[in-house]
Symmetry: C2
Subunit: 235 residues, 2 copies
DNA sequence: CGGGCAATTGAGCATATTCAACCACAGTGG
DNA sequence: CCACTGTGGTTGAATATGCTCAATTGCCCG
């Protein structure tokens, strides 16, 4: 099923068979895109939403002086631009981090869902709000946590989000991005990000090498990161 | 009308008289609270939402090492915790910055709205997403803009948001908070915030004194702040 | 009058940035 | 086949930005 990972990620409310099929039937088509392609461009009117099926996607915004802030990393099961349904266009861009497979949900299909099923409507709404909660947690990280802690926190988050969809095990997970991407996400320079990764390695907490995060001491990492997963609303 | 400022803030979609009255009738009761009172405590199950009618409210989260990150400032017309309807509880707290007047919308009343009016449902959903867009813009500020620019950006945002509800004029606006609050919002220490405010004053852009922001050179301030208001979705 | 809070300033320090160099590796073209 | 090029990772040294600590002022309020 197209929506399997989405339902793994959001375990509540539990859906009836009816609702599950309404959701599944809202899928327009699926397609593949290659790494670094822009999926949604800032400001462009949208008529569809995108569910990520496989690969990684990130959302970002550039400032006038040439810096880039990554706003979100998306894993399979995430709607990457569901907020375009009420908002009609986005104030940031969305791009494929890796080669990806995505499913398209036309806005009309979403409108249909809202007409047919209050439960599904609430679930979709909720998913956009969990996304916002992650935005806020990143704001806390960048605004109030030190460089090393910030990075550790992000690794904890990704580990948990990937576990839900069975893309991680206790030992670690594939993270197909560069230190530059990581740096743009946590608001640091690539050079400093590199040094902080070394610190995490030297503390024997985690190790990011060859697109793979090896978590050596999960409890220690979470403690070091000041990590409290309640913002992910796993329930 | 209770919802006047909310409708001023969100000009689209334009509502029918029917929808306007459905929304207005969803109000349970209004009440006053005094400055610094906690309105919503992190993690507590919620059965109602809060619309701010008068005064200022902020949302915040504390880290384990005692730092506080302010996540949002709310002005009259903002729902401060509408996201509690789909999420059931919040991962952060909400507090009155000043003496405030608020209106309570029971979750049942919101559910009623979603049953009766798709247009209103979408409007409410949209309002939670504009809130999220502001979170993201703050993330860009804290992650990618320098201290002085960050503060200037926040002032530009507040000016615009307050103008929509006729709480600001071209010369400036009342901002009833301390430099400490400002510092916690932009991820700086109060000391450094103070110095950056001095810089804005010396550049003859804006001046924050006695709970009032005087904007001396609005165009210059916006330019200095790298301010693009599209994230507010004013339309 | 005294106590507490906010604003302000100075001095020294810590954290993160910038600039620069170097290595490894993959892809490209001669 | 091998030089050439571009990208990402790594490290060092100098610099800048923002933090900490400390002290002073003004003001409101009990």
């Amino acid at each position: 099923m197209i929506t399997t990972d989405f339902l793994r990620t959001h375990r509540t409310p539990v859906l009836t068979a009816d609702d599950r099929s309404i959701l599944e039937n809202a899928v327009g088509r699926t397609l593949k895109m290659s790494a670094r392609q822009i999926i949604v461009r800032e400001g462009v009117p949208l008529k569809q939403c995108t569910l990520l099926l496989d690969g990684f996607i990130h959302r970002f915004k550039d400032t006038s002086d040439g810096r880039r802030q990554i706003l979100a990393f998306h894993v399979p099961g995430d709607f990457v631009d569901l907020h375009s349904y009420p908002l009609k266009h986005l104030e940031h861009s969305v791009a494929a981090s890796t080669d990806v497979e995505i499913a398209i949900f036309p806005h009309e299909a979403i409108r249909d869902i809202t007409a047919k099923s209050p439960t599904l409507t609430e679930l979709l709404w909720k998913s956009t709000l969990v996304d916002a909660a992650i935005n806020r947690e990143w704001l806390v990280s960048v605004g109030a946590r030190s460089a090393a802690v910030r990075i550790a926190h992000l690794l904890c988050e990704l580990q948990l989000r990937l576990e839900r969809i069975e893309r991680a095990d206790a030992g670690g997970f594939a993270l197909p991005m560069t230190q530059i991407d990581l740096a743009d996400a946590v608001g640091l320079t690539p050079v400093h990000t590199n040094r902080m990764l070394r610190e995490l390695r030297e503390r024997k907490l985690a190790d990011f090498r060859e697109q793979y995060v090896r978590v050596h001491d999960r409890e220690g990492l979470c403690a070091f990161a000041d990590f409290d997963p309640s913002y992910l609303y796993l329930d």
